[in-house]
Symmetry: C2
Subunit: 226 residues, 2 copies
DNA sequence: TCGAGTTCGTGCATCCGTTCACAAGCCCTA
DNA sequence: TAGGGCTTGTGAACGGATGCACGAACTCGA
């Protein structure tokens, strides 16, 4: 299940606040899911809380973290050190407990050799060698459009088995490779679409600013649930 | 439906290649969905292809684009011009047909006043004024953690009704505000999780590199389906 | 020790989205 | 003009996920 990171975040927050036990209601509220869903997930995970009391925060955190990242820390390479690649390399969250950015690649000689986020940007020509040498299993594609498919193929051929793509175009990968695609323009397009729908549904209210006519239900949506 | 941008992309690609008609099979293949799903979506949209022939690319493109963005172009403001905000401002896809970046804000005096992607970075103190003045309806939050909730509240109070957040923490918004959250670290965590699962499922194959044992089914997943 | 209150774990109904399968309809050919 | 071959549009079935409701188990207080 892809809700586990959500649970980990909520549990960490509770742990830092000194909370030792939580009921499924509270944790579900913090993780923005139904309490029944949460209990089902946790039971499916084999974990056990105490009836009449709740879940112990620390033990549950250990269990969920063990499930989410089984001890192993995966090496990540970022390909394409443009402004987006820069941002990703500097992004704190990318240095999580179960992933570690170990290599940066770019094809532009003007970028190769510079140090970004403590790593020297390597030439994209050395991609295969670097991936094999560092045992990189996860590749992040932050290249714009054109050469993306070629770089994707080279990463896969070099042994990468999971890809996180920020490329607007579609990428073709073998079945055994996990591909996750974040299309920033689509994200915005979807928001614009909803904005348009809302304007249409509101009818002739014009350019109402403080309109609080809900009727849209819970609109929260966390991207990345597969 | 959130698949419409996908369809638009596929249709644009076909249109540029000079294709005038497509069958649902071809278009579904290009958009990575089932042909039945595609037909259902299009029929639900009220549009009509020609039986025995297929869909006309140009008319269908017009219909879908009209549906996705009803003529209106929404103004977008990016808050937080760090490396990620920089990347987003320069990102070509953000200047789509239905959205346009019209303002950049940052609280850091070292950034305010500089020109990024053709726009002068404004002081976050002027956020309310800028949003109201430019009729901004969509806000992009690219600030790291801390002040995110406060800025979020100020954006909402100023009239923003859709938010795209890159903040790792959870944001609370009123019900009538559409929130879409892209958590980059969660994306990577999910990939790492699958990588771990795969390693566990493979059993004792060790550090097999060229392992092509699929059995995972279609692993393609496009983020952003709500 | 015993009962009341609380909370986990889980079977069941419900709902959404997708897929299957087929009738309706259009083009092309004879 | 009539028939065959495709393709759309749609009703029905399937699968997965979500939410509800209830039994089981634990704690607390008398």
């Amino acid at each position: 299940m892809a809700r586990l990171p959500q649970y980990v975040r909520a549990l960490r927050a509770l742990d830092e606040r000194g909370v030792t036990t939580v009921s499924s209601e509270e944790l579900a509220l913090a993780a923005h899911v139904g309490s029944a869903t949460l209990r089902k997930d946790l039971s499916c995970l084999g974990s056990f809380g105490t009836r009449g009391v709740g879940y112990g925060v620390a033990p549950l955190l250990v269990v969920v973290e063990r499930e989410i990242g089984p001890g192993r820390c995966w090496n990540v390479a970022i390909v394409g050190i443009g402004s987006l690649g820069h941002a990703l390399a500097n992004h704190g969250g990318f240095a999580g407990a179960s992933t570690r950015v170990v290599a940066l690649f770019d094809a532009d000689p003007a970028v190769v050799g510079f140090t970004v986020a403590g790593l020297v940007v390597r030439d994209a020509a050395d991609l295969e060698a670097g991936v094999a040498e560092l045992d990189v299993r996860i590749g992040v594609l932050a290249v714009p459009g054109g050469p993306a498919q070629g770089l994707c193929d080279r990463l896969v051929a070099a042994g990468v088995t999971s890809l996180l793509s920020f490329v607007p175009d579609d990428l073709a990968v073998p079945d055994h490779v996990g591909l996750r695609s974040v299309d920033l323009s689509s994200e915005l397009a979807i928001l614009a679409y909803r904005e348009g729908r809302r304007a249409a549904d509101d009818g002739a209210t014009g350019t109402g600013g403080g309109d609080v006519s809900a009727a849209a239900g819970p609109d929260r949506s966390l991207v990345g649930i597969s």
